[in-house]
Symmetry: none
DNA sequence: AATGAATGAGTATTCATTCAT
DNA sequence: GATGAATGAATACTCATTCAT
């Protein structure tokens, strides 16, 4: 083996970070704790990230980009807006089933206004939103008064909202029920399609 | 005046706290900074709250309860579900205009899963949800397949989502546009009313 | 007793700092070690100094100023240049006898060019130098080609040089001999008086 | 060429080290920074020096020895004490003009009492001092009450003192003036010659 | 009751040193 | 021989909490 960056270590760092953050919040998540959980030295972490902030921002960008890639691939596959929205919602709920921490991390960070989102991420989201808006204009079943943000809410905000409620339990009756993907998709459709 | 707890001091503490937290996040908000901004001694703060956590939880409960009270009063006024949903949305967006920090604080805390929501709050929300569900069942215009959480999302989650996007700027084009309350209300209606 | 800044604690911090620094150097002198040696908490230290740098700079200024004050008082007492130079030399050697660490600290700091000397200190030294230069011009026994820096070297640099050699032992034969104040004074006189 | 230690690399390491140390102090000079500036791997550095301390001590010895060699060669050339003292002073000031870092490094280290000077250096200095003292005893123009340390101060301490004041700017008026070698030599002569 | 001085555990980050390649 | 990735102890500094006044 040549001396090469051990990607599994980086992966372990990321996993450790989202697990700790999703359970204990950004504050209460120390670099030392991440390193320990990842089975990596603190110094190693700092050789790959310039600091805690960069690590978190990188992860936010990377994980959000998995959603962006899903959107991208659905666009490439020539699906219609409705199918794309449905696909993204199911994708997000699917991730949540396999890796609760990942989605918790995303929801927490997107709603922590002390975190500054990188321009590179915004740019990418903007570009996708624009592509989708073009499709909207060519679609008969989709409301024509939609804004890019409406698509964002239908595809991403809505499923995340359902998940957040599931996690924070502010309505207790939701507790152990699985989230019904069909139901969330139906609500999203209500938001974007013509009655 | 009798020797009573000086509510104005408590109020100042709360206001100082949400302002600092909404701007800099929970972890960059020190108790000393809150006390200083509130013009109160650190010791005073600790005589009324057992610690930083209790202060934050108290505030979360109190501020969320202003929304609950709005719902309660609308129910008392014998409005229908749709009117209530609309009223709550407009209420939230109205608060946001007058006191951005308050809503930012609520959004941040409701999406920080390291914060444990007090049973007393959950109980209250559950009770209101149940009352609303009863109204749903008696309403012809409202979907009968709704769950309590759907009402929550329509009334509270949705406007907060619009605000969050406004604050975190993950779609940049939303930047300086004011949030259109009518549009948010319309989307909420799409979610809960029969087409 | 009223709540007042405990000056003895500050004094203990300073003493701890010069002792550690004079023995182990600026690097190798940690804030924690200073606090521990002073019998004070780290937090206490930080309530009085904005950081390690400020502490060190403050001490440098304060200790150098004890020399400045000596010069000042000798000027006020209407002594001639030669008497002043002699007085300052004896003062420095006297301090060294009672508190080796203090002088070691001063010598180390004045010769560590990574330490930036505060303008307030420079200003004071400049002013005293100017006063002395006026006296020089009115004195018949003193060389007229002297620069302010020559006075500095005669009064301060020279005794400190003798002490430094005593401490660093680069000439071993000096080792246990006491520094002969008369000898140092004589050398200083050779530098400033007319043959 | 045979497999021999690559002296140019060692030289580069030393040059890198004094440059960084003279600008930023010992404690802000990391081994990694030295190696990088020298274009050498950290591991290479450690194959030749047992650690940072040894590197610094070696450099101190080597650079101080360039002065010793100057003294030695002047002795060999049969110069008198006065000529030797003058020669050394001019040598030091000359080095300072061409390589400020080298002299700064020497001054800093000689006045940092946490640095232990190696016996090998002390021995050499003592030997030279003894040789010079013999010359002193045979010279009519030179004071007979001089100690070895007086010679040290006249030759080495004094010019370094002038340079230190130039670097630390504790008297600001010295700022941009070049150091006048003749003046320093004259002061040294005042210290060692009979009036 | 009210204050804010004092504490010290906890944090992010750096860097001398080692050692597998 | 050379390298530089990896380590983890050490450091400056912060801040929730306590308690004497």
């Amino acid at each position: 083996m040549s001396k090469r960056i051990d990607t599994s270590k980086i992966e372990r760092i990321r996993n450790a970070a989202i697990e700790i953050i999703s359970e204990q919040g950004i504050h209460n998540c120390s670099v030392a704790a991440i390193a320990k959980k990842a089975g990596v030295s603190v110094g190693y972490l700092y050789r790959h990230y310039s600091g805690k902030n960069e690590l978190i921002n990188d992860m936010l960008e990377q994980y959000f980009n998995t959603i962006n890639e899903k959107i991208s691939s659905l666009i490439t596959e020539k699906h219609g807006v409705e199918t794309i929205v449905e696909g993204v919602i199911r994708h997000i709920l699917h991730i949540a089933q396999g890796n609760e921490a990942k989605i918790k991390f995303l929801i927490m960070l997107l709603n922590d206004f002390s975190v500054t989102i990188r321009p590179s991420l915004t740019t990418r989201v903007d570009a996708l939103a624009e592509e989708l808006m073009v499709m909207v204009r060519n679609s008969h079943h989709v409301r024509q008064d939609l804004f890019p943000e409406d698509l964002y809410h239908a595809m991403i905000g809505l499923p995340m909202q359902y998940l957040a409620l599931h996690y924070n339990q502010i309505i207790s009756c939701v507790e152990y029920k699985e989230i019904d993907a069909d139901h969330v998709v139906a609500q999203a459709m209500n938001m974007i399609t013509i009655k």
